[in-house]
């Protein structure tokens, strides 16, 4: 079973929910797909056994073979190539590594080389198999990095995916193929707005989802009303608690220190298991 944990925006407690759930369940595979702002390792503290480079193929243009016909530039959808009367200019940061330029070049002037876009760390924390992605800064191909990470999924296990915030391409790459998605939000106007966007995306992707309401006692009841109206299940509510905030700020998982929440997490996971079985 693959369960992703996401939120319309960052800072709502998504990682807190993900890591605490992982710690409670113990025997899981945990993918930190929040490759721009990976934080789960701060809490899970895995020992990293292995670091792999994540690469994509990028074109390389051999100016001695090029006849400046412009076919590559015409085929590139991202305007990454400009072919001039006697020269060719390539803009690496616009390239998506799709490979069509290599394919269309009649002169064999384009070859491909591997380019590092980030790293994938694997390790363990107790029984948890931890896989974390790190995107190189200035890199745009985070979806490719997430895709490479997801090839490491072991379908026989319970897999938790900490998804990137937002509803963009990275979020989609991360949650795509999940059996269930836990959305974490808070009862403020921002929280409601972002939750609805994420929910809409999940509906398009046909992934069942429910809401964890964090800092449930600040703000107002708008989000609860919406959930009641739309029949969205509220899986759990976590009140605002200075102690949780403090434990978070020092990188500790609150379930360890505040066992009163364990039952809530367990009940939530049971609900999810029930739903995904159907």
């Amino acid at each position: 079973m693959i369960v992703s944990i996401a939120s319309g925006k960052g800072g709502t407690g998504k990682t807190t929910v993900a890591v605490n759930l992982a710690a409670l369940l113990g025997d899981v595979q945990f993918l930190d797909c929040d490759v721009e702002e990976p934080n789960a390792h701060i809490f899970l503290k895995p020992s990293i056994g292995k670091t792999d480079l994540a690469t994509v193929l990028f074109p390389y243009f051999d100016k001695t073979k090029c006849v400046f016909c412009g076919k590559c530039s015409g085929a590139c959808q991202y305007n990454a190539i400009a072919v001039l009367p006697a020269n060719i200019a390539f803009f690496e940061h616009m390239c998506h590594g799709c490979g069509v330029c290599t394919y269309v070049c009649p002169e064999g002037a384009v070859t491909e080389r591997e380019k590092e876009i980030g790293r994938i760390l694997s390790g363990s924390a107790g029984k948890i198999n931890f896989i974390g992605g790190r995107m190189n800064s200035g890199e745009i191909l985070s979806a490719m990095l997430i895709k490479t990470m997801k090839e490491l999924i072991d379908p026989s296990r319970t897999v938790l995916i900490d998804a990137p915030p937002g509803t963009s391409c990275q979020f989609v790459s991360a949650v795509h193929g999940s059996d269930y998605c836990i959305l974490v939000s808070e009862p403020t106007p921002f929280g409601v707005n972002d939750f609805l966007l994420a929910a809409e995306a999940l509906e398009k992707l046909k992934i069942p989802y429910g809401l964890v309401l964090n800092r449930a006692d600040i703000g107002n009841d708008e989000i609860r009303d919406i959930c009641a109206r739309k029949n969205i299940r509220i899986l759990m509510e976590i009140p605002f608690d200075m102690e949780i905030a403090r434990l978070y700020s020092v990188g500790e998982m609150f379930l360890e220190k505040m066992p009163q929440y364990k039952e809530k997490f367990k009940a939530m996971f049971e609900i999810i298991s029930e739903i995904t079985k159907k």
Binding site: G10, T12, E37, P164, N193, D194, V250
Partner: protein
């Protein structure tokens, strides 16, 4: 004209509350919300929409079943895994690169414009406001950001405005890069948590990479004074000035729930902290 972009590395650190406060403080400005995935600034500005434009961000492949002979070449070539076993395009994975179309010997694949969002020019209490909504699960937010920033710039030039104030997206990926293009100052908002510090580190890598002068604001600075100190030390080492500290305050939460910029809220301390930041960033 000066372009100020507020970013954070991590979401939820208080970018929007700060930018909306600047919106209330600054004169002669245009506001732009570059967080097109999960825009929030409009919640604080109560905008009146003046203009709406559709945004087509790239293309997506479509297979014409009548022409397709199921040779499977496209599936083999696609690097994004966007063509399924039964030779259908998974629109969520298609990057629109056109490789399949180029390669298909039976001309069965067509690239079609993909409606990926809308953008708006609005008026608000605090001046013209350019914002957008990327349809959920759509990509190319970078392009949409470039588009709305261009619009904001055009407005600024047309009206002779002094500032472009941009609320940036979270993260350090392509949307952030797009929102930083052309910025005069990046204001990085962080909080004294381990993850906040970690993400600020990554955000400064980006601003250094693009050689954009940056300044740091520590929000909720009192929730962990030790961490606040280490952020200050880290910034000093990098030569980045910490221009403000905003304490945790219920008043900010109340303002946000009431959808008003916290600078107009009921706490004198918060007002002062934000005013000082604005003084320093101008």
């Amino acid at each position: 004209m000066k372009q100020i972009v507020v970013i954070s590395g991590k979401g939820g650190t208080g970018k929007t509350m700060l930018l909306s406060s600047f919106a209330a403080l600054a004169k002669n400005k245009v506001l732009v919300d570059c967080d097109v995935d999960a825009s929030n600034l409009h919640l604080m500005l109560d905008p009146k929409r003046l203009k709406k434009e559709l945004f087509f961000g790239g293309k997506k492949a479509h297979i014409n079943k009548n022409k397709c002979v199921s040779c499977g070449l496209c599936k083999k070539l696609c690097r994004y895994g966007a063509i399924t076993e039964d030779l259908k395009i998974d629109e969520f994975l298609c990057e629109g690169c056109g490789f399949c179309k180029e390669a298909c010997e039976y001309s069965a694949i067509e690239m079609k414009d993909n409606l990926s969002g809308e953008w708006y020019v609005s008026s608000s209490k605090y001046g013209p406001f350019v914002h957008a909504r990327l349809r959920p699960a759509e990509e190319s937010s970078g392009k949409l950001i470039a588009r709305i920033k261009q619009e904001a710039k055009d407005i600024a030039i047309r009206d002779g405005l002094d500032y472009i104030l941009a609320d940036g997206p979270p993260g350090i990926g392509c949307p952030v890069m797009a929102s930083l293009t052309g910025a005069d100052t990046a204001l990085i908002v962080t909080e004294p948590t381990l993850s906040g510090m970690h993400d600020m580190e990554r955000a400064t890598e980006i601003t250094e990479h693009f050689k954009i002068p940056s300044k740091v604001v520590i929000n909720k600075s009192d929730i962990n004074p030790d961490n606040t100190k280490s952020i200050e030390a880290a910034c000093e080492k990098k030569g980045i000035e910490v221009i403000g500290r905003i304490p945790f305050s219920e008043s900010i939460v109340r303002s946000l729930v009431a959808r008003t910029p916290p600078i107009l809220g009921d706490s004198a301390d918060i007002k002062q902290a934000i005013c000082e930041i604005w003084e320093k960033i101008q």
